[in-house]
Structure formats: structure tokens, C-alpha cells
Symmetry: C2
Subunit: 336 residues, 2 copies
DNA sequence: AAATTGCGCTAAAAGGTTTTATTTACTAAT
DNA sequence: ATTAGTAAATAAAACCTTTTAGCGCAATTT
């Protein structure tokens, strides 16, 4: 890590032109008909002195930065944290880097971040879009910069997308509760227009319809504090004398569990959307709808890379199956 | 987000030189004695057309990228995830961006990452160093690029550092267990030379000495699988008939809890280092030594920024106090 | 014999800034 | 009348690459 060595230093040392070195270094030796002897000589020398091109100069010239922008809801939520980790290591193998930021579901912050990343000329985006981000995403597309959405999408905007089968996941979870003979099954969700929430809600409702059961739905404000969430959940559960619950996110489920502890009521049977370390450890352990995190990450990257290489034209929407991990919290109900 | 507008476009439109515009945009109007009238004219025009300089060109010229490298152990661990989130938002306010990567305690990967970031000319580093990274960090320092370590450091290398008071944290935790009348108190740690582990270990031993108790220490391989960790913990706890435990990391504690579930033994009184959602929710809830995450993040950034501005010369080592959060898992022992 | 093609390589432009060194047009001092 | 000094602005170099267009020569084709 001493004084930086330049491509011109190499050219000078070998008595050839900078152009030739550049061609060789960019795998264009064949194409540009550089002799094999010279190619080898250059490559050997480059390796010997450990030359690394200045990425900034490269980017300035080519317009490509090899940096991808990852805009996620919250890096400290293990669901997103895990996806971020997987994406990061996948992308790394391909020579790309990630710049990331959390939006905490704040549209304005998301817009700012995207603008910022755009100004920094990231090559592409992976975004968990918050409500109201549709226009911004559209603008990116119009600027011809690849965007892949995940976790949720905009129904009226043709975009690449990778996500889980939220409808089926919620449907299966709810059906499972019905089969276990629960009769008063509630659904906890957010005040949000995000597609994943709607789909989970629809899955719940469909299953309830199929079993001819009355539905109970409680929505929580997205910006509600933990205490507010806990209180409204307590009321929802107790006042409706629910005997089972489906939570549309892992942190809502955690708020529910905290509430049962704080207000000292018995938590009914429950299922959470998205797994979490907590759920395996609790007594009883919590049944979850688990998203295929690894597949999601892999496909996000694959699609984005294909797009960056211009190898696909039509938008791809990928919906991956969830897995219902049945644990102790949904044992069959003993009819009294 | 249309066609990019350049500084030369502005100069042309206003009939002045590029230099003048650049001076004005970089707050050097006064210094370079540009007339106020012209300064205002340029600023107004720039605002009107929404010109944003090309950051790449800027970086190429100045050698500064306004990007910081964050090298952490594991982004999916909430302790690091939370710190990352806080760092990210602090740094963002100051016009810097973060590129991050997880090392998973793999030295070779860490070295590669640092080299990579160095090649991309990040302006500074925040690093949770893994064993064996000392030379690399030294090289960075010699290249005059600011580095702040956190969570652990190298005793033989003068570096900026921010971390928690691990010794005192472990000491207080262990003392608490002693005061609660536990008699066979074990300590679970990692095979690692990292300072934070050593300090925690010393805190434990010191407290045990003070109370004239026999110590029990179990180390787990850093790359051990979850199953391996669980098995060795089971043996450690059961064979020594321990009645209390201090875990040196949150994930070791979680492995312990999983073990007690899997092998069906009763978990003794316990304390974990670093809080986690799980610990508040379990029955009984788990007493923890909690690190001051917010202060750590703030100080990391502050020190790094000061260094970037060349405002400090002497290295700063900041050790922040931990807090013992007493919960149900360490109720006073009932002597039989 | 003249024109074309192929080979192996290179000079110079382009990418968009910042910064150094200079110019120009004055006013004030000798 | 010359010199010195200053305010206001600028031309050109520098940062380090990639890429376009083309050069000089020999071999082949017309």
C-alpha cells in the first residue's frame, strides 16, 4: 500500500503504449490482436508489481461504478439483515460492491437516498419500496438504470421483482389454524398499502371464508411505538376472546408476545410471518411462515446482474413459496 | 433525472469560466475575491437548473470519495446491525456514505475486503478487527488513512478505538451472581485472542477471586456449528452441576438456551453479554450486560470525522460503561 | 502496378472536476 | 510617467483511465 502505481508507469517500464496495456488488462488482447508474447509480458509484469487500476478513473471513463445501491426497510431487523448479508456476499463474488441504507419506511428519506445513490452513479438498485415511492422508481427506470424490487411491488408499474408468495403463505397458515380447530382467529396487520400486507390479508380472508369463519382484523399504525402496539394488541386479543392469531410481520408478533407478558394475559395459539430467533426459543415455540431468504437473495442478484449485462428485456416477477414451520404454538385445540 | 448538466454548461450559459463557477461552488468565492454579484448570479442559476457535480470526477481530482468503509463481524447479528444502522444515519448527515461488509471473523476475507475498499479509495475505516488483522491495520495507518477500531483492539498497536468496559461489565455481572448466592458459576467464552473476550474473562475471574469461588470456564470454537456449541454447553453445564452462567456473547447464550431446550435440562441462572430481543421475552427473562450502542456509534463517527478533518493527532481510546440489566433469570438462589 | 486487407500497435480524445499559475484592467504610490 | 499593487476572473494542467480512429508496413488481391 505504498505510492500508487499507474498504468502509464507500466507502459513506460515495458516501453509500450498505455493503450496496449489497457487493452490487455481489459481482456481485449485477442480482439485487438495484441501478440500473445506481449500479452504475457504485460500480464506478468502487472502481477509482479501488483498494479491495480484506479477504480475512480475507470468509473469516470466508463460510466460504470460497479457499485449497487441497496435500499431496505431496516437493517437491524434480522429478516432484512440476513437478506442484506446474503446479497452482499453474492454480489461480492461478481466484483460488485454494495452501498446500503435503511429507510425505516420513510418515503422522503427513501427518495433522498435514491437521489443520492443516483448522484453517485450506482449501477443498479435493489429496493424494498415504501408507500409513495412509485414515481421515483419510475424515474429510475426511465433513466435506464436497473431496479429490482423486493418484498413488495407496485401493481401499476412494470418492474423486476422478487418476493414470497404472501397470499399462499397466509392462506396456509390460516388454514392450519382452522384445521387445529381454532374458532376465533384474528389477523394483525399494518395500516399500509404495501402489496405484501394486502396479499397476506387476502390469504387470511380466503382461508377464513373457506372455513366459513368470522374474521377479526386489527391494524397497527406503521409508526406506532412499541407501547402503543402492545396496548392495541392486548385489547384486540382480549376483547374479542380470540383463540388464535396470525401476525403479518415478525415484529408485530414480538409486540404481541411482549404485550402478553406486560399485561399478563395468556397468548392464544399464534403464527408469525417471517421467522426470528425468538420464535424457536420460546416456550411454547412459535409456528411461523418462513420466507425463503436464500432464494430471494440469490434471485435478486441474478436478475439484477442479468439486467446490468443487458441480457434480459422483459421484466421478471418471481414469486417464491413460503414454508409453514409448525411448532408448539399451534397444537390442536382441546375442545372443552 | 434527465441528461446530466455539467459545470461547463453553467459557465457557458453565464458567459464566465469554469474555474469561477467551481470556486463559487466550493465556497471559495470570498477567498478568491469573486464579486458578490457574480457569486449570487451563479448560485441562483445553479439552484434553478439543479446542477449537481459529478462525484466521480470530483473524487478523481481531489482524492476524496466521501465514502467510509465499515467492516463488521456480522451484519445479521442485531448488536452489529444496530450499530451499523446508527453509524449509517449519523454519517449520512455529514454527507458521507457507508460501504459495508461482514467478515464473519474470517481474517482472509477481512484482508481482502480492506484491500478492496482501499482500492476504491474510501476516506476512512471503521473496523471490528478479527484475530490476525493487526498488520493490515498498521499498513492502513502507514498509508495515512484514518481507522477507528471498535468492539476490540490490538494492545500493541496505537489506534483510535471505541468500545465497552468489558472487564467491569463482566465483573459486575459475576459479582451479581455471587451476591445472589450462586455457588457454581460458569463462564462461557470463545477460543479467541480478541481483547473483548479476554477482558470479559478477566472480569469474571476477578469477581470469582473476590468471592473466593471456584471458576469454571468453557470455550467454544469460533467456527463451531450451532449443534457443536449446543452439545459442548450441555456437557459443561450438566457435568459441572453449575447453578449459574455468564455467557460472553449473546449468540453463545442463545446456543445455551437452545441446548437446554433440545437436551431437556433446566437452564441455571444466567447472564448474557449484549442484549437481544429474545432475552426480554423469555420466561424467565434473561439478565444481560448491555453495551451502550448509541454512544458507541456516535463516538466512532465523531472520532473518525475529526480525524478526517485532521483535527486530532493523538490516538483516542474510548471505553464506555456497560449496564447490567437485571431480569428474572438471576433471582436470588433459594438455599435448600 | 495499383489498390485493398490484415497485423500489431499507438496517439490523442474523452470523461468532469479542482487547482495552480496567469492575465487583464484598474487604482494608488513613487 | 513609471512602478507597484490589487481585484476579478481565467487558461490550462492535473487526476487516471478507456476508447476511437488511425498509422506504417507487409501480404494479398484486382
Amino acid at each position: 500500500m505504498k505510492k500508487r502505481i499507474l498504468i502509464s508507469d507500466i507502459a513506460k517500464a515495458l516501453g509500450i503504449s498505455v493503450t496496449t496495456v489497457s487493452f490487455i488488462l481489459n481482456d481485449k488482447a485477442k480482439e485487438k490482436r495484441i501478440s500473445e508474447a506481449l500479452t504475457k509480458r504485460v500480464l506478468d509484469y502487472v502481477k509482479k508489481v501488483g498494479y491495480k487500476p484506479n477504480e475512480l478513473a475507470k468509473s469516470l471513463r466508463t460510466g460504470k461504478t460497479k457499485i449497487l445501491g441497496l435500499i431496505i426497510e431496516d437493517i437491524s431487523n434480522p429478516f432484512f439483515g440476513n437478506i442484506a448479508r446474503l446479497i452482499e456476499s453474492k454480489v461480492y463474488e461478481q466484483g460488485y460492491r454494495i452501498i446500503y441504507c435503511s429507510t425505516n419506511n420513510d418515503v422522503e428519506k427513501a427518495k433522498e437516498l435514491i437521489q443520492m445513490f443516483y448522484d453517485r452513479q450506482v449501477d443498479g438498485f435493489i429496493i424494498t419500496p415504501s408507500d409513495g415511492l412509485e414515481d421515483t422508481v419510475k424515474q429510475l427506470q426511465q433513466s435506464n438504470i436497473p431496479v429490482v424490487l423486493f418484498d413488495r411491488y407496485f401493481p401499476n408499474l412494470e418492474t423486476d421483482y422478487v418476493g414470497a408468495d404472501n397470499f399462499q403463505g397466509a392462506f396456509d397458515a390460516t388454514s392450519h389454524l382452522c384445521q387445529q380447530a381454532y374458532k376465533r382467529i384474528g389477523f394483525v396487520s399494518l395500516y399500509s398499502d404495501q402489496t405484501q400486507m394486502k396479499e397476506r390479508s387476502e390469504g387470511y380472508l380466503k382461508a377464513m371464508d373457506n372455513h366459513k369463519q368470522q374474521s377479526f382484523i386489527q391494524k397497527v399504525q406503521m409508526d406506532a411505538s412499541d407501547d402503543e402496539a402492545m396496548e392495541s394488541l392486548k385489547d384486540f386479543i382480549c376483547e374479542n376472546r380470540l383463540d388464535a392469531l396470525l401476525f403479518s410481520t415478525n415484529y408485530l408478533a414480538i409486540s404481541g408476545l411482549k404485550a402478553s407478558k406486560k399485561y399478563n394475559f395468556v397468548m392464544p395459539a399464534m403464527i408469525a410471518f417471517d421467522d426470528h430467533t425468538v420464535f424457536k426459543l420460546l416456550e411454547p415455540s412459535i409456528t411461523v411462515v418462513s420466507q425463503p431468504i436464500k432464494e430471494i437473495a440469490e434471485n435478486l442478484i441474478n436478475i439484477l446482474l442479468l439486467r446490468l449485462q443487458g441480457k434480459i428485456k422483459a421484466t421478471r416477477k418471481l414469486v417464491l413459496p413460503c414454508e409453514l414451520k409448525i411448532r408448539e404454538s399451534t397444537k390442536a385445540k382441546v375442545t372443552l
